[in-house]
């Protein structure tokens, strides 16, 4: 009787708490019952022999069944040729109370918050506190002294404490929290959780909040006071299953708040209160339906006795069938009392209460020839009880039928259906429409089908979303350059910094090798500053599977091949001392797992952010994530993080905040941002408020027959789209410009450096303030050389990016090389003339062998072997710099 014991707790719903027990209206699918049969004796043996492939519960009737059957007023049990007990489960809404009490503890010194609940269940109080002066809605863990015994910390912001019955006879499960009112605690927040069902009980979708200080101070308005009890919409929003009925007691709650508002004018003058709310829990209640069939020796008729302990009115919706196709038919009269014909298809009989106990039942007298008796039960509120989504079935052909034949036919059907079941599995993916084989596969299949279709719908919607999103945010180029260029470049924003930034990439692919890069770089801090750099990009600081740092594992472990966390802090400090802002290289797209899941796939994380596979995107089969589909491209070497998960974002924001605070980073270089939607980046940047941020959106340019297309608009559009998705909170590396410089310089096709509108052809031509121009980095150059800048032409590249708008970035290897002084000179020309990320560029020549431009009317430049001289006129250009195939002039 497995089913019965599982439900033993609420086996009899009339027990304690059902003042207004109602059966919830639920789709019939949730009302299932498993069937423990006591088989007709004549067929038992052959039945067991042929079902190796299916699990069938053949359970002996226990004493309770016998007791129930015993209640049948059968004259002699010998006549009974069929007996069966069907355990049925109903979902019942059980109402109870739950209270919150704030009062002084016994010693009159401390205060005590008591939360109790009258419903049975494994109740857990999930709670935390907020401190005075806390801004935002985060919880903190309460101080140790406040935690009742048995509490378990959940992450670093909550505690879970089980509710206990104080003594056996108590109705309430309670938990008491003692606290000292003079502490810094501003409020206690909690939600109630039922471990049994996994349900969360909240206060109108939010957590409960017990303010311990005057809230007027905080909110300064009556709204705040009105909301005083239970305000906050935080991370718990995702908990569904909110069944708390707070409406009834809403008025009380308001009164209470108003009272406390008055009292709280005396700030911190706590006043005790007691509040009750009703709480509703969905419990599945087990009941039994027992059926016995006997043959009346006098009339030769078959009598079906149906009895149940389900409370309330129970209507049996029934019929008979002639064969195993189980087509419902209406038998001939007589029918039991209270029977009506329903749409000529079935009969409806209201079960009559029995004299003894809480049972009801009916007797159905049927002609012998019927093959089976079919029924379903209809309870109050239109709830239907079925047997595994199907009708209950009682065979009526007892010993009088031919047992051998009957068994035989069973065997065939059984086998066939098993076969179709396995076939079903094979065809599962292709075959999406339900309803094929056995009822079992039918059921599972229907579910799977629905899930897979739902999933498909979601994926399609996500795809549509990403395209629509990017296309609506496309910035018309004119608008951008106009607004950008006319805007005075004074405001600091995370997309641009001051607008006058010059960035230094402070490492290369080999930097991890010494193991003390931070210290080595520290020695160069003042030198880098003196060259004119304002921002430095440091290597990824986290523990990583690969030594270079781009395969992060434990995000909070900042001891890496580049040095220890202490050394990192020291480096950041000395960089700050020389006036350089520091960018942390943060890898948000993917993260290496600590553990394998049950399938041996690495997708379970450890460390402080111990995420499970819900944090991994679902569409990379290598990592079997349970998250949503990725919002970007996948990086296939490690589990890609699902940024659509609220908890992931929350944790990442927390981490970025921690990096800002703990290390002193001023901003971010965001790795592989192609992997997730820019909108999430916006979220992160708004949360971590960096001084400067730049994302690496690197994909391929367009080529036709191996030759790069002149028009790279689609390439830069993708980068601009991403910047747009971040709402301009981040800049992006101008990969387009680098690519075009490659072709222009390598092949002597300087005409490529002007687009068809006469503007720079890279991102810098469309959205200069968000373009971080560069010619080389640790991936493209260094010892990897994935896409190396044409050798010997680096200075032409720098002459271009260091004179043009955008925020130029210079690679470490170039700074500390023979290019150093030339680069320094270019930077000083840039700074001297106040060229910034939004400077205006006028292209004056873009021909086969020469490109020339005038920037802000102050600087003229040319690259390429061809001839160019700025116009001699009132402006008075004078040559400022000259190098191999490049020249720079400034106005004197």
């Amino acid at each position: 009787m497995a089913a019965v014991t599982i439900d033993s707790l609420l086996q009899n719903p009339t027990l304690l708490f059902r003042p207004k027990a109602k059966v919830m209206l639920k789709p019939p699918r949730s009302l299932d019952c498993s069937r423990n049969r006591k088989l007709p004796l004549s067929r038992g043996s052959c039945f067991c022999s042929f079902n190796p492939r299916r699990t069938i519960h053949v359970v002996r009737a226990s004493s309770s069944e016998t007791a129930l059957i015993g209640n049948f007023d059968t004259s002699s049990s010998d006549d009974i040729f069929y007996k069966d007990i069907f355990p049925v489960k109903r979902i019942e809404k059980v109402e109870g109370k739950f209270f919150i009490r704030l009062d002084r503890s016994k010693d009159q010194h401390d205060w005590q918050l008591t939360v109790g609940c009258s419903l049975p269940g494994k109740w857990i109080l999930h709670w935390g506190v907020s401190y005075l002066g806390d801004s935002g809605s985060e919880w903190d863990q309460p101080p140790k002294g406040m935690r009742p015994p048995g509490s378990i910390p959940i992450k670093d912001y909550a505690i879970e404490t089980p509710l206990k019955k104080l003594s056996e006879g108590d109705i309430f499960h309670e938990v008491e929290i003692d606290f000292n009112p003079s502490s810094e605690i501003a409020a206690i927040h909690f939600v109630l959780k039922d471990e049994e069902t996994g349900a969360w009980y909240q206060h109108r979708g939010m957590d409960f909040k017990v303010p311990l200080v005057d809230y007027l101070e905080d909110d300064g308005n009556t709204v705040g006071a009105k909301r005083g009890f239970g305000v906050w919409s935080g991370a718990l929003q995702q908990f569904s299953n909110v069944l708390l009925k707070s409406e009834a007691s809403h008025a009380d709650s308001q009164n209470n708040s108003i009272e406390s508002k008055d009292s709280k004018n005396k700030n911190r003058c706590l006043e005790g209160f007691y509040e009750e709310q009703s709480i509703v829990k969905e419990v599945s209640v087990g009941n039994l339906v027992s059926v016995a069939v006997r043959k009346s020796p006098e009339t030769g008729k078959v009598i079906v006795c149906l009895e149940t302990d389900i409370p309330g009115d129970v209507v049996v919706h029934w019929g008979v069938c002639r064969d195993d196709a189980k087509i419902w038919e209406i038998p001939a009269a007589p029918y039991p009392p209270e029977t009506t014909v329903f749409k000529n298809k079935a009969l409806r009989t209201l079960l009559q209460p029995k004299a003894t106990g809480n049972r009801s039942g009916a007797l159905f007298t049927l002609d012998e020839e019927h093959f089976g008796f079919l029924f379903v039960l209809k309870l109050d509120d239109n709830t239907w009880l079925k047997f595994k989504e199907n009708d209950f079935y009682v065979p009526l052909l007892g010993t009088s039928s031919v047992p051998g034949q009957y068994g035989q036919s069973d065997i065939t059907t059984e086998e066939i259906s098993s076969k179709s079941y396995t076939d079903g599995i094979i065809n599962e993916i292709r075959n999406l429409v339900s309803g094929l084989s056995s009822e079992k596969s039918q059921k599972t299949k229907t579910k799977e089908v629905q899930e897979s279709i739902l999933q498909e719908i979601e994926q399609l919607a996500a795809e549509a979303y990403s395209i629509f999103r990017s296309s609506i945010t496309t910035v018309p180029e004119e608008v951008v350059s106009e607004t950008e260029t006319t805007k005075p470049a004074v405001k600091i924003s995370s997309g641009t910094g001051t607008g006058f930034e010059i960035l230094c990439q402070g490492f290369n692919w080999e930097s991890h090798k010494s193991g003390r890069w931070y210290m080595e770089l520290k020695e160069k801090a003042s030198e880098i500053s003196s060259l004119g750099f304002t921002v430095i990009w440091l290597p990824p600081p986290t523990e990583s599977v690969s030594p270079e740092g781009y395969m992060p594992k434990d995000l909070y472990n900042l001891n890496s091949r580049y040095g220890t966390i202490a050394e990192l802090k020291e480096l950041v400090k000395s960089l700050h001392e020389v006036g350089i802002k520091v960018l942390g290289d943060v890898v948000l797209n993917h993260r290496c797992a600590h553990f394998k899941n049950q399938n041996g796939v690495w997708n379970i994380f450890g460390g402080r952010l111990n995420w499970d596979d819900r944090a991994v995107v679902a569409d990379d089969p290598h990592f079997q994530g349970r998250g949503n589909k990725s919002s970007g491209d996948n990086f296939h070497a490690a589990p890609n993080i699902d940024h659509s998960q609220e908890f992931v974002r929350k944790d990442l924001k927390e981490w970025l905040g921690w990096l800002r605070e703990e290390i002193g980073y001023d901003g971010w270089r965001l790795d592989f941002v192609r992997g997730f939607w820019g909108g999430y980046v916006k979220d992160y940047l708004e949360a971590s408020e960096p001084y400067f941020a730049v994302g690496e959106y690197w994909d391929s340019l367009s080529y036709t027959y191996g030759e790069m297309d002149h028009n790279q608009d689609s390439h830069r559009q993708r980068i601009v789209d991403w910047i747009n998705a971040t709402n301009g909170t981040a800049g992006a590396f101008d990969v387009t410009t680098k690519g075009i410089l490659h072709s222009a310089l390598e092949r002597c096709e300087y005409w490529r450096l002007s687009d068809k509108k006469g503007k720079p052809p890279g991102v810098v031509g469309w959205w200069p303030s968000r373009a971080v121009t560069f010619i080389e980095n640790h991936d493209t150059g260094s010892t990897q050389g994935h896409w190396r800048f044409p050798g010997g032409k680096e200075m032409q590249g720098y002459a271009y990016i260091l004179t043009h708008p955008g925020t130029p970035a210079v690679f470490y290897d170039h700074i500390f090389s023979h290019h150093r002084s030339e680069i320094a000179n270019l930077i000083s020309v840039r700074n001297r003339n106040g060229i910034h990320c939004r400077s205006l560029v006028k292209i004056v020549k873009a021909e086969r062998d020469v490109y020339a431009a005038i920037i802000d009317e102050k600087v003229a430049m040319k690259i390429g072997p061809g001839y160019y001289e700025p116009p001699s006129g009132s402006q008075g250009w004078s040559l400022a710099l000259e190098g191999r195939d490049y020249k720079v002039w400034e106005t004197s």
Partner: protein, 536 residues
């Protein structure tokens, strides 16, 4: 246990799936398919009648027959069945096809169509713009729209086409360039307000029958457009295309552009202005006044009407008590103003029904929900928009009657608006107005289809459900509109939920009114009652 396995052959088919596919369109094998025992009409088949039909027809499914299903089924893509009775459409982006007749974000639309199909949505609505198609007078380029229609057809969805003879400002879809050009020299083809400002998003209804467009009247031009549409899309008519909305004015709606700028939702706006000041309108007014023996009344519109953003009671025309609207002059003017609108509607709808009348396509026209100031006696917003509907006069009678005359159906937008979310001071009541129009339509037996103004209106989805599933059911609803917001994580889940809740009745089929079962009986007659699916 063993016995129930047998039963699964017939009964299991009928189990209800979670997503509410209450009408079962499973195929029971080839032979069955051929015989089409199931109607393809979405509102015909339901649970109970299925069983009874099986019983009556004496269908017997043996296991082998059932077993052969998987192979067959794999060919037809799974879909959740279309919603029962209610046909839900989703609007495609306004700029699905724009300048140069290219399909914008075709991939997104493709994915979106698939998603909608799987959800069980019946079809999509496609705005077809005059300004996109007829770039040169009399030369039509339908290529972009044909491509969309093909996509829709391929996705197995229905198409409701909205013919838009107006312009859109967001996204910007102008009138045909040649029309704009004519307008530059001849601004009287546009509506004008009292200060002489022109509304250039659609033509004034006063020029309907004037040969202002290079020797042709706008009606002739619209006719050419509709006829070309009909010819071009004839392969889709009645099969994929099931409905056509005729553009009747600003935003396609039957109204005057009484507000030149679209009102922001949630803000209180004035009652709008009368748009009778272009020369042609003034001419009509003059003629009407002279014919009515009051030539002096024909010299202009009401002098005491407030301007766009002024509160209606700031001047005397709309005053609740003793306002000029109740005076004989007021009645004179409003009768004329509203009848011009109805005549305009009649011209366009009779044109549409004469062109599309011989197809199986339903013709619709959109009537706006001018709900602000509904709680005043004068209903200024409706009056300026051309609906002579006040506390003492039902102005929608004439409108409904005109629709009935042309056998057209009415689309009512704003089914997502609820009174409680309107600014209190606006004295607005979308719900009462909606009820009034629907009652009037019922009276004239004009079918009403629904539409929402914009996704994301507070409480919008609940309101839509209320409007659709209430006593007074609506059988077609167009949900506006596909785009980034529509598919965003903020919106799409609630839409999914909405669709599912529509299709998933809370009652057991047994408890549904039995008339439904009867309604399906007629369908059965087309099927052979003696089909036996014996072991193949």
């Amino acid at each position: 246990m063993e016995v129930s396995v047998i039963r699964s052959s017939s009964q299991a088919k009928i189990s209800k799936t979670e997503l509410g596919c209450r009408d079962l369109r499973f195929c029971f094998g080839k032979s069955n398919d051929k015989n089409k025992i199931f109607s393809r009409k979405p509102n015909s088949v339901c649970f109970e009648s299925q069983i009874s039909r099986f019983r009556k027809a004496g269908l017997r499914f043996t296991l082998k027959a059932v077993h052969s299903d998987p192979v067959l089924e794999s060919k037809s893509p799974a879909t959740f069945k279309s919603l029962d009775r209610l046909r839900l459409f989703v609007g495609l982006p306004l700029d699905a096809v724009s300048d140069g007749n290219s399909v914008n974000h075709a991939r997104a639309i493709g994915a979106g169509l698939k998603a909608l199909k799987l959800l069980g949505v019946e079809g999509v609505e496609l705005p077809v713009w005059w300004g996109v198609v007829e770039n040169e007078m009399g030369k039509y380029d339908w290529s972009g729209y044909l491509a969309v229609a093909e996509m829709v057809q391929k996705a197995g969805l229905k198409l409701h086409v909205s013919l838009c003879f107006h312009a859109s400002s967001q996204p910007r879809i102008p009138l045909p360039k040649w029309v704009t050009k004519i307008g530059e020299s001849q601004s009287s083809i546009f509506f004008a307000d009292r200060s002489g400002q022109h509304y250039q998003q659609c033509l004034s209804l006063a020029v309907d029958n004037l040969a202002v467009l290079d020797g042709k009247t706008p009606i002739q031009v619209y006719q050419g457009f509709c006829e070309s549409f009909k010819t071009t899309f004839s392969p889709f008519m009645g099969s994929t295309i099931t409905g056509i909305s005729m553009g009747l004015g600003p935003d396609g709606e039957l109204r005057y552009p009484s507000h030149h700028k679209p009102a922001k939702s949630g803000t209180i706006t004035g009652g709008g202005e009368f748009q009778c000041y272009d020369t042609n309108m003034l001419n009509l007014l003059k003629q009407y006044a002279e014919a009515n023996g009051n030539p002096l009344w024909g010299l202009g519109g009401p002098h005491d009407a407030p301007t766009y953003d002024q509160a209606p009671n700031s001047n005397s025309f709309f005053k609740d008590h003793g306002g000029s609207w109740e005076s004989p002059y007021g009645d004179f003017f409003l009768s004329w103003y509203s009848s011009e609108l109805v005549s305009h509607g009649n011209r366009l709808l009779s044109l549409a029904s004469s062109i599309f009348g011989d197809t199986e396509v339903n013709v619709y026209g959109k009537v706006p929900l001018m709900h602000s100031w509904y709680k005043t006696r004068a209903h200024p917003s409706e009056l300026t928009a051309g609906f002579y509907n006040t506390a003492s006069r039902n102005g929608y009678e004439a409108v409904a009657e005109m629709f009935a005359r042309n056998s057209c159906k009415i689309i009512l937008p704003g089914m997502d608006l609820s009174d409680e979310h309107q600014p209190h001071d606006a004295l607005s009541s979308p719900e009462s107005l909606l009820a009034q129009i629907r009652t009037t339509c019922n009276k004239h037996r004009v079918e009403v289809a629904g539409q929402n103004l914009a996704p994301g209106a507070p409480g919008g989805i609940e309101q839509i459900k209320k409007n659709m599933l209430g006593e007074n059911k609506i059988d077609l609803f167009t949900y506006q509109r596909m785009g980034a917001h529509f598919f965003s994580p903020e919106h799409f889940p609630s839409f999914t939920e909405f669709v599912r809740s529509l299709s998933q009745p809370e009652l057991h089929p047994d408890d549904l009114p039995s008339d439904e079962a009867e309604a399906t009986e007629s369908v059965q007659t087309s099927s052979d009652p003696n089909i036996h699916l014996q072991t193949a």
